[in-house]
Amino acid sequence: MSQDIVVKKGLDLQLVGNASPEIYTPKSSDYISIFPSDFHGVFPKLVVKENDIVKAGETLFFDKNSEKIKFVSPVSGIIHEILRGDRRAVLEIKIKADKEISYKKIEKINLVDSSNTINFLLENGLWTFVKQRPYDIIADPNSIPKDIFISGFDSSPLSADYDFITKDEKENIKAAIKCLTQLTNGSVHISIRKESNSFLRELKNVVIHNVSGPHPAGNLSTIINKISPINKGDTVWTLNLPDLSIIGNAILNGKFVAERTIALVGSSVLDPKYIKTIIGSDISSFLKLKHDNSRIISGNVLTGTKLDSKGNLRYYSNEITAIPEGDDYDLFGWAKPIFNKFSLSRALTFSWLFPDKKYDLNTNTNGEHRAFVVTGSFEEVFPLDIYPMQILKACMYEDLDEMEALGMYEVSPDDFALTEFICVSKQPHQNIIRKGLDLMKKEIG
């Protein structure tokens, strides 16, 4: 079964530094790090200590709030260091990786009933890839999902091409999807680009959505809002296509193989291409930059995490982006005509003249933080049937009733990346929404 979805509102930000379609396998990195902050809302309870020996797939920690959710090691090796921050919160678990990875053997079980399947995913650290709406956090294993949504492409700027990075993972992904179809009484929905020739089209028992239009066409909120909006009390689960190959590998081969094919992109990357690496790898082992003063991001420029030059690939990222830092002043930058930066307005900004131009943007904020003044522009890039500025303001003054009424259950922080990008007042939209979701979860649950 397949359906067409056309997204009209949005914005495709064209940037310099697309990855060329070649995959390299660099020397594996000596140290691997896992950052509990990648798992929003998880309170880690460690089961390993420094100098313990672990195999790939063995539990490192679990979530104190939901003890069944386990987080496993992507490699085998020795726990080298556990970094802690304020109030002994775990910041980073650093593992010295073996040259040859040895895997914990995952028992094959019969994945026919849903509680069996959920336990299998929980026990083997695969549940981390199942997220839920509302709140955009790791799914509550006790919830019953109305539907399951899988994003089959990423529309954000310079994102990895999912069709390309999963082209050799057909069997694994099919196995994972087969297992997911047992977890819901509704349907499994998969979004793919209309022009894509993905093998996903061959799948039975799933609903394929042919999506066309600009970013955020690939964000699952966009699809969910169009076909089956989330009401109060509903839960849907969401997954990302590249993660399915890790789940499928565990089902078929009994191993937790934390391998990812990631894109190295951005105008500061010396040789933009794809590489095969392991979750948590040290980026200095494969990333070569054109100049030192660059921002390195795990993920894309809109939603990614800032890394320092010795950082690591974060848990969910499918790309590493590097762009120039913009820590310089600009004489009369607010008044002069601007040709080399992107803008939605035409206020002496001339990007409207060059719709196909690829921009080399830096990290300068191009102005200072201000109160919300301009109205009507967010709606141009926001495809959901929700009032973006009103919901942001409701989050800022923490009115729970209003947040709920305006559709807070349907959004994730990523949905506000474009509005944040175009915000003239330079307000941190994603952060505002995340804090609003946290508050709702705490007060309403």
Partner: protein, 403 residues
């Protein structure tokens, strides 16, 4: 050492100090800051609030320059008229002259300087006390204020009303972005109610007319609305009204330059075309109703409302400041309705009420600023009802959900 690095050092030395916002206001005027993104999106669009405000100011500059020449021109033709000489306007002959420029600059530039000077001092004081950066809202307000006052207004009155307008109209609500009323119109409303003799009549619109009244050299100039309200003959042709060679508030007379400003604002996507268009539609609609009333013979020439009610509906747009108000005042994003649907309703009601006040209030026939202030107050209500339809849709979806 370059200016850039010197200023950077001064900025660092001010960091965390009380006066930092004051220095930063000047610094960021020269250089956009070296701030980089911290979390969230790592790149940002090129526009900031300064650029947005600057775009509005640029669209107002032609009106200001025209206003300067017109101030001199109106002064000179009024003197000619008192001597019994009637002159025809010619753009290069007697309008764009050095003499007009000198007289106009002498009168208008002090108004601009006082408006910006006093307003920005108030903004700086509040920024330093409250420890936030100086926001750009006043850049536009400071430019609008001299354009909507009579040329002969004493400077001290302007200063007093600017202080009132900025403090009561804006800062008490929390500064730029938080105010309910348009600050420029709050200033004008204060002027109108505190010093009514300086805001209407046939003296204040022409430079030096107040000084000379009662002397043998007395001169005067009545606005078109004033003449209509008193059921007098209109002495100006439609083209004079369109091009702006008439007495009136400094920046509001030239309709063609206001239209250019509107086109620039709409093209640059800074001004809301929805509000501009719907305001004009609202005004035309009300004008049509009044024309219909005249046609039906309900109001006859004996009525004091006859003069303005019988004006052809489309001519209302060329009279008074409805066009200026629609383009530069109603579109203020902070005080206008914020939803797209709400903007249509908000603008339409402004136009509608403006013409209603204009016709029914002969004592002060310019109703635009009152209509906009009124709708400023109702804009949140309009938005509320627009947003409620979205909320209701969501609740309805919840109800029809199978159990």
């Amino acid at each position: 050492m370059s200016i850039k690095s010197k200023l950077h050092e001064i900025k660092e030395s001010f960091r965390g100090k009380k006066m930092a916002p004051a220095f930063n206001a000047f610094h960021t005027f020269l250089f956009t800051p070296n701030d980089v993104t911290v979390s969230g999106t790592h790149v940002k669009v090129a526009d900031d609030l300064k650029r947005t405000m600057n775009t509005v100011i640029m669209s107002l500059v032609p009106c200001l320059i025209f206003g300067i020449f017109n101030a001199g021109y109106q002064h000179n033709i009024a003197i000619d008229a008192s001597n019994g000489i009637l002159t025809q306007v010619s753009l290069f002959g007697n309008f764009l002259t050095f003499d007009n420029l000198m007289i106009g600059s002498m009168k208008v530039l002090p108004l601009v300087i006082v408006s910006y000077g006093v307003g920005l001092i108030v903004e700086f004081i509040f920024a330093v006390i409250k420890g936030h950066e100086v926001e750009e809202g006043y850049l536009v307000t400071g430019m609008l204020v001299p354009l909507i006052v009579p040329v002969d207004l004493p400077l001290w009155m302007l200063a007093v009303s600017v202080v009132f307008g900025v403090v009561i109209g804006k800062e008490v609500f929390g500064g730029t972005g938080m105010n309910i009323l348009n600050p420029a119109l709050t200033i004008r409303a204060f002027l109108f109610f505190a010093y009514p003799t300086w805001m209407s009549g046939d003296k204040v619109w022409v430079y030096d007319a107040v000084n000379r009244s009662g002397t043998p050299e007395a001169i005067s100039g009545e606005t078109i609305l004033g003449s209509y309200a008193q059921n007098q003959e209109i002495v100006y042709s439609l083209s004079d009204m369109f091009f702006g060679f008439i007495p009136g508030s400094i920046g509001e007379t030239s309709k063609i330059l206001i239209i250019f400003g509107a086109l620039f604002l709409i093209f640059s996507k800074i001004g809301s075309w929805r509000i501009i268009l719907s305001t004009l539609l609202g005004a035309l609609f009300m004008g049509l109703i009044f024309n219909g009333v005249i046609e039906a013979g309900i109001i006859t020439e004996s009525s004091k409302f006859y003069g303005l009610m019988s004006v052809p509906y489309w001519e209302h747009l060329f009279i008074g400041s409805i066009l200026f108000g629609a383009v530069f005042m109603a579109t203020d994003p902070v005080t206008a309705a914020q939803t797209n649907k709400g903007k249509w309703i908000y603008g339409f009601l402004i136009g509608f009420i403006s013409i209603m006040i204009r016709v029914f209030n002969p004592a002060y026939p310019e109703g635009v600023f009152l209509a906009i202030l009124l709708m400023n107050v109702f804009a949140p209500t309009i938005d509320h009802f627009v947003v409620q339809s979205n909320v209701k849709m969501r609740l309805k979806r919840l109800k029809i959900k199978p159990a």
